[in-house]
């Protein structure tokens, strides 16, 4: 279908974007890569009056290391992350996850900030933000505030973003030497949203796991941190009995629901399979999960 009528305007500053958001309220939508928004307009799932194209805001572009953080500007495209040496060296979790994210033509336009703002529970970036202790930098043009990813994703497509705020960037604390990452997922067709996926971060020292973050995508209304599995694996080596205990604890951690294609029981099973693969990959760095 074709999109409904709307007006289109470009801004070059956060303040201008915010003043349009305040003026039009719910009738205005920020347009970044458009890879979700334009699809929903074509399906007439929403009918905004004005689209505010923010891609000209220079301050929201780019990847940089500063003050102990890796900063990913909100307008950084998925493909920029895919090609970034800096990201591959400093936060390889993102490099591992990006090939699973949609298709090349969509990665060429879709942005990191757009994905985090949309907060699809099966999307890769929200789960990675949670697993790598990301902090969102939000601005209303005058004030900036920082929100941990764990507090940002509230419920299905619901975030802590205020109606007059933009995501400016996501900042990740630079991981220490022992920190390792693993990402894997299962989808019906390569590039589709995941049925179930997993992002893991942990310190590995002498084959022992510590300070784990285990985050699932596709099994709840938000990215889901599996605290039970983390407890079962922290301080352990990952032998079969330990892994079995961690998988058993997933029944407390996640509560997937049936969808058109996959039952809740199948998703729970797949979550266990992915946990096992991710832990193996974490312990044997370099192996793809």
């Amino acid at each position: 279908m074709k999109a409904p009528r709307f007006a289109y305007t470009r801004v070059t500053t956060v303040a201008d974007a915010v003043s349009l958001l305040r003026q039009h309220g719910d009738d205005a939508r920020l347009l970044a890569g458009g890879q979700t928004l334009l699809a929903t307009l074509n399906m007439r799932l929403s009918e905004p009056v004005v689209l505010v194209d923010i891609t000209g805001i220079e301050a929201l572009h780019g990847v940089a290391v500063q003050d102990g953080f890796l900063r990913i500007g909100a307008l950084t495209r998925h493909v920029d992350i895919e090609r970034s040496e800096l990201v591959a060296q400093r936060l390889p979790l993102l490099t591992q996850a990006v090939p699973f994210l949609a298709h090349a033509a969509i990665r060429n336009r879709g942005t990191f900030g757009g994905s985090v703002a949309f907060a699809d529970p099966a999307a890769e970036w929200p789960a990675c933000a949670l697993a790598a202790d990301g902090e969102l930098i939000l601005s209303n043009g005058t004030n900036e505030r920082r929100v941990m990813a764990g507090d940002f994703f509230i419920d299905l497509y619901q975030t802590d973003l205020h109606p007059d705020e933009l995501i400016i960037a996501v900042e990740f604390p630079l991981p220490g030497r022992q920190r390792r990452f693993a990402f894997t997922e299962l989808a019906r067709r390569h590039g589709d949203y995941a049925i179930v996926g997993i992002a893991v971060a942990g310190d590995i020292s002498g084959g022992v796991m510590g300070d784990l973050r285990i985050v699932f995508l596709g099994v709840g209304n938000t990215p889901m941190r599996a605290l039970g599995a983390e407890t079962a694996l922290n301080g352990k080596r990952g032998d079969p009995a330990v892994l079995a205990a961690a998988i058993a604890s997933l029944s407390e951690d996640i509560a997937p629901s049936d969808d058109l294609y996959t039952s809740a029981a199948a998703k729970s099973h797949l979550a266990g399979v992915l946990l096992q693969r991710a832990v193996k990959s974490l312990l044997h760095e370099g192996e793809t999960p």
Partner: protein, 167 residues
């Protein structure tokens, strides 16, 4: 602000100045305003890849891009890359491998495959399959398409020009 927007887009090397409705997709702009019908409109929500074109060298979905967003950009369509001969080898391989039947998906397939062969000149069959997974074909069953891309990879490799353009 709801009015048409003056848009300057360079399509296949020619600058076009048009007043366009903000809601007009790039694919409809190309087909309806400029009469370039090679780019197809299929699902109109980003799933099938029939609308693939290049903006500033990168492949994108023409149905998930507004014409006004392409203001100031360089757009290339299947017509442009056919006329220049840039993908003649790939087109020949599609023909040889029976990689098209009705041809609806073919312009998108060609531009998508070419993007991979330029960025990954040594792409494996598996990489080709993954990269092409965002493009639907309702006729061929895909194997012939993957064959054609693989054989073009080989011809380009033998020609020793890696990801360079064929002129």
């Amino acid at each position: 602000m709801t009015d048409k927007v003056l848009t300057r887009i360079t399509v296949n090397g020619v600058l076009h100045e048009r007043w366009v409705e903000p809601r007009q997709h790039l694919v409809d702009y190309l087909r309806d305003e400029l009469g370039l019908k090679g780019t197809r409109s299929g699902c109109e929500h980003g799933v099938c890849g029939a609308c693939t074109v290049r903006i500033d060298g990168d492949i994108v979905r023409g149905c998930l891009t507004l014409a006004v967003q392409a203001d100031g950009a360089r757009v290339e369509t299947i017509e442009g890359v056919s006329d220049s001969g840039e993908i003649a080898d790939l087109q020949h391989a599609f023909l040889e491998s029976n990689a098209l039947q009705c041809g609806f998906c073919t312009p998108g397939m060609l531009l998508t495959a070419d993007a991979l062969l330029k960025s990954e000149p040594a792409a494996s069959r598996e990489q080709i399959r993954e990269h092409m997974s965002g493009n639907y074909c309702r006729c061929t069953g895909y194997h012939a398409i993957v064959d054609a891309v693989e054989s073009t990879r080989e011809t380009r490799r033998l020609a020793g020009c890696g990801g360079d353009r064929h002129e």
